[in-house]
């Protein structure tokens, strides 16, 4: 087995190890989980270094490439008659998402240190889910991709339904059903592409060699984009996210908002845009419009929220809008921004949900107006929350700025097949969110953490424990490292983005607006 397979299988092996331990031994279970995810993080770090050395060398050569170049490929025939392979590998986009997931699951394990109800089942499901996520990010066979995709989405139902809070059954059902509708669209799209290609293969790279007829692209592209868009919180299919996040337990919210929602943006780029460039050209502006609504509407929606989790969920709707906006801008900066935003939002929102869990564990409330002055008793958590808030409003020095500036420039610079005036207008509308974000972030955080302590019980509360500090510290450090030294991250992904752009340029006839 190669590196990539290990990256996929390690969480699953950890889950198996957890299964072996008797349930009453819950302390051992969390140590096993932590060891497993910690090993995964180290393996990811090792892979990243190897990958970076290779990929950053390839940047000049990839500038004109139209085909994705994969590293550490492993391929085993699976169902020969249907053309399904176990085909996994890494490109820059996958690599960055793997880093994100590995960090989040490690931090999430630390943040779930105190789950005492059915610890065993909780970690088994969590680790299975994350196996699915890793599988999605590293498979280049559509069938395999879809299988892992479902593995990632389904455990969520149980995780929310059992360990959640509030109207958890309703939230779990709504989330699962909406995502299933998305999956159905994706499945239809996959089968359409499979048949239209005539290659009898699900190999994504080979499928991309076909020029699909424009009529097919016209209807398949929106199927893919909407299907993935549901998971990426595309307006108006985002409403599962506030309810789902609010009901989910801490680590699940972290993983869900931090990583799972990224599958949407990832799939939209990797499959929809990659396979169907002409459909992308046709629909780009439409989806840019929808995502502009996401960005602005989500940020205004967040202002009035009273529950910290709803607050963060609406902020996620706005920030995930940037991901799909970047994808819909259909150029190098847009794609790059989308990927950096996926990473940055993943870390940021993971941090938010971890902190909300920690604050909730102390105050037993998530209602913003019920809190006040908490910075005095929990300075560490307050500082981390502010760092997250500042990253979320795009303060330079954190990853969010790198992402948002790319996305804005991408939208404004446009491309040579979408209406430039419309693109510029939408971009300018989207930039309004940087002010609105500042408004809701500062209002929310000021109420929770600043001012005098409003409830005398709060005086007895304590600051973060060591595991909590490790968990949040890791996330904060990641945000700062990418924000201060963005060039490493860009070197990691850039070579793999050129093919997407070049395919758009090479496909079909160009509509000259410029």
């Amino acid at each position: 087995m190669g590196l990539v397979s290990w990256l996929i299988i390690l969480p699953f092996l950890t889950a198996m190890a957890v299964l072996m331990v008797p349930a009453k031994n819950w302390k051992a279970i969390r140590w096993i989980s932590l060891t497993g995810t910690g090993m995964h993080l180290m393996l990811t770090a090792f892979t990243t270094m190897k990958f970076w050395a290779l990929a950053s060398q390839d940047i000049p050569a990839m500038k004109t490439a139209t085909m994705t170049k994969l590293y550490f490929v492993e391929r085993v025939t699976w169902f020969q008659t249907l053309g399904i392979d176990y085909f996994v590998g890494l490109d820059g986009i996958s690599m960055s998402m793997v880093i994100l997931t590995s960090i989040i699951i490690f931090a999430g394990t630390l943040a779930s240190w105190n789950v005492e109800e059915r610890t065993k089942e909780f970690f088994v499901l969590l680790l299975t889910l994350v196996t699915g996520v890793f599988g999605v990010f590293m498979s280049f066979d559509l069938f395999l991709f879809f299988m892992f995709y479902e593995v990632a989405v389904l455990p969520m139902y149980l995780l929310i339904g059992i360990w959640g809070t509030g109207p958890k059954e309703y939230a779990a059902m709504k989330l699962t059903l909406m995502l299933m509708v998305g999956s159905a669209l994706i499945l239809v799209g996959m089968l359409a592409v499979y048949h239209a290609s005539g290659l009898h293969t699900f190999d994504l790279i080979r499928l991309a060699t076909v020029n699909y007829p424009a009529s097919l692209q016209t209807w398949v592209f929106p199927m893919f984009f909407l299907g993935f868009g549901v998971l990426g919180a595309l307006y108006p299919f985002h409403t599962w996210s506030p309810d789902g996040h609010a009901s989910a337990p801490t680590a699940v919210s972290m993983l869900h908002a931090g990583v799972l929602m990224k599958l949407g943006g990832y799939g939209a780029l990797r499959i929809a845009v990659y396979l169907l460039p002409e459909g992308a050209k046709e629909w780009g502006l439409f989806f840019m419009g929808l995502t502009t609504i996401n960005i602005v509407y989500g940020s205004f929606g967040a202002i009035m929220q009273k529950d910290l989790k709803y607050f963060t969920a609406y902020s996620s709707v706005s920030h995930c809008g940037f991901v799909l906006f970047g994808v819909a801008a259909m150029n190098l900066m847009g794609f790059k921004g989308a990927i950096i935003q996926m990473f940055s939002h993943g870390i940021m929102t993971g941090l938010f949900f971890a902190l909300i869990g920690m604050v909730y564990g102390r105050t037993h409330t998530r209602i913003i107006p019920d809190m006040g002055g908490l910075a005095k008793v929990m300075p560490w958590l307050a500082v981390c929350f502010y760092v997250g808030g500042m990253a979320s409003l795009g303060l330079p020095g954190f990853a969010g700025f790198v992402a948002e500036s790319h996305v804005f420039m991408g939208g404004f610079f446009g491309n040579n097949f979408m209406n430039p005036v419309a693109m510029k207008t939408l971009t300018i509308i989207a930039t309004v969110s940087i002010v609105v974000t500042a408004v809701y972030v500062l209002r929310g955080l000021a109420t929770v953490f600043q001012g005098p302590i409003t409830n005398h019980h709060f005086h007895e509360l304590t600051d973060a424990t060591l595991t909590e500090k490790l968990s949040t510290g890791l996330l904060v450090a990641t945000l700062a490292v990418v924000g201060f030294m963005p060039w490493y991250f860009i070197d990691l992904i850039e070579a793999s983005i050129f093919p997407f752009v070049n395919r758009l340029q090479a496909s079909g006839t160009m509509v000259a607006f410029h």
Partner: protein, 666 residues
């Protein structure tokens, strides 16, 4: 380039890097120490770091102005840069340091004031529970400000611009348990953020058009020695050929050319940071921060970033006459508007805040009246920025000493402090005379030069405003001086005593600067465009009237507050009635803004959106769920389990299908 020999010219990056390292040391390392050790170390480490940066800045100034003495065209050097962020080919941000006259000038100002403020704070903040946190953030601010000053490109400027905004936010809200401080910090951040939206759009516009021009102008830029230049670089944007191309562009937006539009947007950012009308509302509230912070950030350094930005982009502003006119009018109006409000405030720091606004207005309109052919206003603006930093920092630190002594911000709680606090009194008097523009203190020279520039530019109205504001300034500054030092002692000020030595040293040093700064031959050091500069001397035709109005302002203040006491001023306020109240309430701008945000944005945009999302969009989702269940329930009744029913359905279906086929296909 001649810089090979000089250590400091090659290592300018050290100047921002030292405070940054100190920030990291304090924030990551020292904060984990025991409380007592933390407090002992943080003040010393932070202060030493900024002092060493100051020493390097003076060394740099010495080397740079010796390399390019008076009469020699001063080159802009970029001794160090690296690719920080690559957006795409030919569009990258090269973070680095730019050494040119104004960046050297600002480095000197920032490090001087910052190190004195650090020293002062070791006394002022002594015993505060957040002592270590305070110094951590103060260092963060100093780093960000120095990073802003040395930016060789507009994106680095934007990055540091936001960072100074964030550190200002942190320091205004330093007393985070105090609700007024919290809301002031939010207000400051959000208002400047709104302005930064303009800045960001301006940057994107310039980047976009710059990038489109890049291919065509790059060869000739390379030929002229500008290698490794990027569209965001100031060297690119202010290049004459690039500007010519920009002006030739036919794209317009709302009747404005691309260049004008970009510059107006950029100026919006500058106006936010420098608190120009109508984005001024955050600065008076920012006085909720600790007084040394007000001195450093909200008087001497951060608020001049807007002026600095306009100066940095001056050739481009000058290429667009309309944008420059906007700068001039906004600056002149702010100067007058803020001075009028300053006459009515009772909180000593707020009076100083309004005077800062007014002086920033001077610097702005000085830039607005100049041009590449007549750069006197440019020099004057930088000169005023330089002198103002010292005397305004001195005023704030002096005010801090007063507040420290009487534990109140109101000037009416002070009084009779001249004898009790002799050193503070003497230094504040020097600063007050300086801001009033009395010869031979620093403010006189720089203000005189601004007035001369305004007069020579032909904008007589602006000149008249400048002259009028000089008189008003003298009045309101001496109002607080007379009331605080000469007035009747109140029960607050009875037991006041002189500040500790660590606070007095900065006062004395700044007083020396305030006396001496006016004699710096600024025209030899800082200029732009075609004129070679040269010293202007004092134009008595302007200085005479300006001294006269200053004297008149001082006399009026004496007449009202020394000779007349409280009754006379109360009588005047009563006579003015509604006018006085309106001015005292700052023309109700805070209320207007609150109305717009709370009553309009929150109530008519945010709340409906939240409702719409929960009820309409999500309602749709729930509706589809309900429909599925309802249709399921309805179809349920068809599953009766009786063969007869199924048979009836089968026959009915078969008949329907046959009929349909028969109608449509036969």
């Amino acid at each position: 380039m001649h810089s090979e020999q000089s250590f400091i010219l090659n290592n300018v990056w050290l100047i921002p890097a030292i405070p940054f390292l100190s920030f990291l040391t304090l924030g990551l390392l020292i904060r984990n120490f025991p409380k007592k050790l933390q407090d002992q170390l943080s003040g010393i480490v932070a202060t030493l770091a900024v002092f060493s940066a100051a020493v390097l800045a003076y060394w740099l100034a010495w080397e740079y102005f010796h390399l390019f003495p008076a009469g020699v065209a001063k080159q802009a050097l970029v001794p160090w840069s690296f690719e920080w962020l690559r957006y795409q080919e030919n569009l990258a941000v090269n973070v680095g340091v730019l050494v040119d006259p104004i960046s050297v000038l600002l480095m000197v100002v920032v490090t001087t004031v910052s190190s004195l403020v650090h020293l002062y704070s070791t006394g002022y903040m002594h015993g505060d529970p957040g002592y270590a946190r305070y110094f951590t953030w103060l260092n963060l601010f100093t780093f960000s400000m120095l990073g802003l000053v040395v930016s060789p490109n507009i994106l680095q400027m934007y990055v540091c611009w936001e960072l100074v905004g964030a550190s200002s936010f942190l320091l205004i809200g330093f007393y985070f348990e105090k609700p007024s401080a919290v809301s002031a910090s939010k207000k400051a951040f959000i208002v400047t953020r709104f302005a930064d939206l303009g800045f960001l759009l301006g940057v994107i516009l310039l980047g976009y058009y710059g990038y489109n021009l890049f291919a065509s102008v790059a060869p000739s830029l390379h030929a002229s020695g500008l290698t490794n230049v990027q569209p965001f670089d100031f060297a690119f944007l202010t290049n004459p050929e690039v500007m010519n191309q920009f002006m030739g562009m036919s794209d317009t937006f709302m009747g404005m050319g691309v260049l004008t539009l970009s510059m107006v947007l950029i100026f919006m950012g500058a106006a936010g940071k420098s608190a120009m009308f109508p984005l001024h509302i955050w600065l008076p509230d920012a006085m909720e921060g600790p007084t040394p912070v007000s001195a450093l950030i909200h008087a001497a350094t951060m608020v001049v970033a807007g002026v600095y930005l306009v100066a940095r982009m001056f050739p481009v502003f000058a290429a667009s006459a309309d944008a420059l006119l906007v700068v001039m009018y906004v600056g002149a109006f702010t100067a007058l508007f803020a001075a009028v409000i300053g006459c009515t405030q009772d909180d000593i720091k707020r009076v100083l805040a309004f005077s800062t606004l007014s002086q920033l207005g001077y610097m702005m309109f000085a830039l607005g009246v100049s041009s590449m052919d007549h750069p006197l206003g440019y020099t004057a603006s930088m000169f005023h920025l330089f002198t103002h930093a010292f005397f305004k920092a001195l005023l704030f630190l002096g005010a801090g000493a007063l507040i420290h002594a009487v534990h109140s911000n109101s000037i009416w709680d002070m009084g009779g402090l001249a004898k009790k606090m002799p050193v503070t009194h003497a230094t504040v008097l020097i600063a007050t005379l300086a801001i009033a523009g009395i010869y031979p203190l620093a403010g006189f020279f720089s203000k005189d030069e601004i007035l001369v520039a305004a007069l020579e530019s032909g904008h007589t109205g602006v000149f008249a405003i400048g002259l009028l504001v000089a008189g008003i300034t003298a009045f309101y500054m001496f109002r607080i001086y007379f009331v605080a030092f000469w007035g009747k002692p109140s029960h607050h000020s009875e037991h006041a005593h002189e500040a500790p030595i660590s606070m007095l040293i900065p006062l004395i040093v700044l007083a020396i600067f305030t006396i001496g700064a006016g004699f710096v031959p600024m025209a030899d050091l800082v200029s732009i465009g075609h004129s070679a500069g040269g010293h202007h001397g004092i134009n008595w035709a302007v200085a005479g009237p300006s001294l006269f109005v200053a004297a008149a302002g001082i006399s009026f203040a004496w007449f009202m507050y020394v000779a007349g006491g409280k009754q006379r001023s109360a009588a005047l306020a009563g006579a003015l009635g509604g006018v006085y109240t309106t001015i005292k309430q700052k023309f109700y701008f805070d209320e207007i803004y609150l109305f717009i945000t709370k009553k309009i944005v929150f109530r008519f945009i945010a709340t409906p959106i939240a409702w719409f999302d929960r009820n309409v969009v999500d309602g749709g989702v729930n509706l589809s769920g309900w429909l599925t269940r309802a249709s399921g329930a309805a179809l349920n009744s068809t599953q009766t389990g009786q063969v007869q029913t199924y048979g009836a359905w089968f026959v009915g279906g078969a008949v329907t299908v046959t009929l349909v086929l028969w109608i449509f296909f036969l």
